[in-house]
Symmetry: T
Subunit: 141 residues, 12 copies
């Protein structure tokens, strides 16, 4: 099984700043653990601060992956363009969030991409990614 | 580990009606499978169509469980009272939804309970419950 | 033909209080007249102030009735849960109101259940119920 | 008893176009059947696509009829002028709709005329007109 | 000086119905008095229930009158088309209302035509028309 | 007949600044002309930039005047307090505006005081005051 | 004098959880003190998490009490049905809140029941109930 | 190929008034040029200020034309009735506007008819009509 | 104990006008009775129609009083400035209203000052002030 | 004549995915046909998924082209930045859309760029581009 | 150069209360330092809690100053009257705020005066005033 | 002291186009003057039309600068992603705007980044940047 993780803007800062909120583990470290936990899964990973590059990557990964795990960061709440891409590709996409976005400012309660994703997992810290992996494992059985 | 599942209004109809949407498996059958899959977890289960009884059950299960998995059904979108109960109890509560609520009518996009839950899992069919169980397993390690 | 009437909150007060608005006839008296008027119809009747019990009754009466006449009272304007039940059952449901709800406060103009009912009859006093009966008679011919 | 039916814009297309929605019976055919069903009622009928002509007809029919059955079509949702006319005349007016307007676009959920009509009947197909007739019969007894 | 008065929908009912609100004087009687009061003014008058005919009349009266006094009735609150006509013609138009529209339903507080009229006079009963006449006299001096 | 004119904030600037909009005549000069035009009327006049002083003056002038002409300036759009005063006093109050407030920013379209005034006259320049005087003359006959 | 206190959802948790907010005194303890303070008043008390049971109790207590003190908890903000009951009964109802609801989330600023209650007292902790008692004492003198 | 052009309210004023905005060419002159430019097309043309007559014409031209070019003027923004007609007829309708409606007042940004038209062309002056003709030519090839 | 009562705009009219609503007792008379009822309390009183003077008084009374009872009248609904003052001073302020503001126009349902006051008492007539006094007595014990 | 076509996000997917909606022709194929159809026009073409690159290209193409045809895709509805660029450059820009955006989700009805474009063409499939070309041809004559 | 500083409601409390937010320096002390820092500037200063007095002062200082620095406090968000004054006077006005108003309640994000001021400086503590002074210095060079 | 200036979309056009609004000085020329004016400050500068590159630059400049001056252009009003970056970095950021954004379209009145910046300076032309520099100088003393 091939799974690809795409992280959007500012998610490269995790573990480095605002550690009281996001904890002290960087996503790179977390990703290494993830690979170890699931030796049978072929993982890929990409982070960018650019809306356009998320679209480019989603398009290029279509057909080559069994599933995409997307944390679009703040673009979740503003990008119709990313939503359109998800609607246009065949590979199932799962929306994940580290924090519980419904506890935060009201402009974070709106997700443009949610209607086009398979499902949404939010609020479980970095474990949100792992639950998404578990879903793909469940589905593939 | 003790986990308690609470299902709200109309979730007793799953597998019996609108099977094109929700599939042919009833929640009772699914629950039996869940118990078998996780022999080390002590599961409890309760379904009601009454907002007040959801509150009663949440209050009575506080302190006696390690986690609560709540699918409040339509009360998700209208009940401040259930939200207050979740805020008032100590046991962590996970909000789950079978369908992707963001693909449906706009009045289903608002969740009063989300800000007070640990996290939210929606759109994965009955697997949403299982991902919630997985989270409690991950956390307990 | 079997028809079941469900009355929601405060409709047990009709004929007892606010008689200047609702008249001096209680629903119980009206119901007796209705039975006499239509000797060939097998009527059932249930009143409750509880949202959950309306849902319970709608679910239990599915398949056993030819039609349901529902005056959900104030839950008309707030209950997505009752709306979901109507959407989930097979028996046709007609929404009735004694008063013209569009002459009253703006929060009474919104009906969550209307989109899922066969049709709506409002403003004809207790005759609203009788017109609903007439519809089922017309349809059954 | 004299009853007058007024049909607003596009209701002359019924039975001719969009027959999958509105059925294959034209209103003219339906009207002939209605006359036959109620030989003791003196029916009149008028259709127009013009807002002003609905107002003209409502004004001219005041005092000469026992009741008016009005399907204002799309003007239901936009015409304060027709609402004012209904408020100004003495003859009771019943608002009818063939389709369940609450299942359709949200701009059809607002009725400017409803607060000024005796009552509203919607969603019963062409039978909506007949239920209105039944009401006038009930009232006249 | 030539002045033309245009009355919109339902203003032909004044003095005939709802006399507790609008008084017992019809506009026709009022108009005769107006002519007598101002023998030097050449008055014209037109009433219609049709939005389109108000537009037709406004267009045809442009250039031939010194001023137009318009009570567009309910079209005041819904007609962008009449507003466009006023914007397009040269003759100054004064908006008048018999009742104080700001004491009534909120949908009557919006006037589409007001921004394009010279000014607005509302709430003075039939005297609103006379104050409009006085303005044209003041201006012509 | 005794009439009192109250001018609100910034109306003391008329004729002095923004003369392209309001003309070169100050309200003081206009007021002198008004007195001359109507020798039989006993006029009073007060200008203030303070919301509280408008209320004080309205209260103190009640019973001693036959009518009050109020241009509340920007307080028209923000002051519920002035509206309450007008509702509480017996002397009829007419709302006047020099400019056509409906041609300006949308926050100027709302008048808190309009529902409690006898009527409203706007858009006729300083002649708006004179039309208000004319109304009191008409009414006194 | 007979007074009845009705407490809505989650008010049975007071003094047990979130003691930093609500203090360490349970309502049961408070109620015992209240009875002692006013030996001449015949107090009754009922708590429920169910909207329908609040309605049942309000209806059954009508005519048998001199006053009802209602803390509807979160149903304050969502229940039109409870509002209708208060409107329909004769016994005066006072709305009380322990916390200052206007300092909290905006969805708590709306009270459906307030327009139908005699008055509202909020923000005084458990003393809010006592002030309501004082009002009934003042009124009864 | 047969094409029919329908122009709504105030479009008869083009070239006569507000020539700084709409230019000095009347639609009649433009129409003559259009006929000359496309000798193989059988053109028809109708202008009215009445909403009802636009509906009448749309209904009567159905089946007899290959395409309809509609500039509904201000009714674009207010008429659900015209929208219903377009939805009900078979002949494809193209919405055109002379000016760029998105540069004007916000109430002109909403088009009730757009969802039911084949497409929309706005902002190209009288050339908007010609582009619509070009579309029908392209489609017919 | 020292308590200071501040009354805002138009509250000097109580007992003098609109006596059908507010009763025939002036606040001055009520205040004399209040002083007699509570001989141990040192009362002060101030009324003004000016927003600024309410702020001045609140600032000057800080530190010198044990409590302030504020009926800000219409400024309740419009004054952020008074709200800021209450937030800035140390003396607890109680918001009182004579009428039930939630039964009145919707613009009276919003209180800018409520979040910064200790609590709110509304709807008990002049007794609202007395209940506020009772609270300060309860608290001081 | 030199014309430049800019396509925004996801428009590179046309003809490849969702072919039931957009048809089986890719834009590249369409573009080749376009070049052949208009041999006298010097066409350029650019596609990007990045908002910033659309701005870069619009800026760089100013002065060097006679016209720009822009399908900004989803950025149409969210990008004030692209709107600012169009406002800032001299070359006329035409907004085109393949689908009828007014038939789709309401968030697609808003165009930030429309007020700054020469005009808008939507709903004609790939022919929307060709109609834009036709406009530039008409204008250049 | 002559500069005049106007401070609105509650700004006299700075340095005295809520010192954790605003610091321990009073504006009077700050003002003395400001005078010392810029010996060549002729400063004036005025503080009031009254909206009307801000207007009076702005009007009286027009023509006599080179610039006005205005911190209108809470009136920033509610006063159209002050906005009108700024629009009417010639002397440039700069809006300053001590705190970052965009971090606070949403009703503080709206400034009625901003569109009429030269510019806005907020969030720099008392240094906001000094930056305004720097602007006038820059401009005068 | 090290200060870094980041300019967002279209700010490279300043001085080149729309010179009637923004003046004839390009930012590059202005920047050279700024460097000369403050020889002790180590300035850096970056302009981009891409939202993602603004984020990249803000992240990379954290820790290496004493302050950042950000004119995010149109992204000010749409970018939650940039706001998140500012919230995540340690270096203080000042928001500047050349024009008075509150005089322009209402969609420019909303700033997503303002709550996370130290302060905001708008409306002073290119001097807005210089005032920001002055603030950092004041703070560093």
């Amino acid at each position: 099984m091939k799974l690809f993780i795409i992280n959007g803007p500012n998610l490269n800062l995790i573990g480095k700043r605002e550690t009281n909120i996001y904890g002290k583990q960087s996503f790179d470290d977390y990703f290494i653990n993830l690979i170890k936990k699931y030796p049978d899964i072929d993982f890929g990973y990409f982070q960018t601060n650019s809306e356009g590059e998320i679209i480019d990557k989603l398009q290029s990964k279509d057909f080559s992956e069994d599933g995409i795990i997307l944390n679009a960061g703040a673009y979740t709440h503003t990008s119709i363009a990313i939503a359109d891409t998800i609607a246009g590709i065949k590979t199932p996409v799962i929306e994940v969030h580290i924090s519980n976005i419904f506890r935060r400012e009201s402009f974070r309660h709106k997700s443009f991409i949610a209607p086009f994703c398979k499902g949404c997992i939010s609020g479980f810290g970095l474990n949100s990614y792992r639950l998404a992996v578990e879903y793909f494992l469940l589905k593939s059985k």
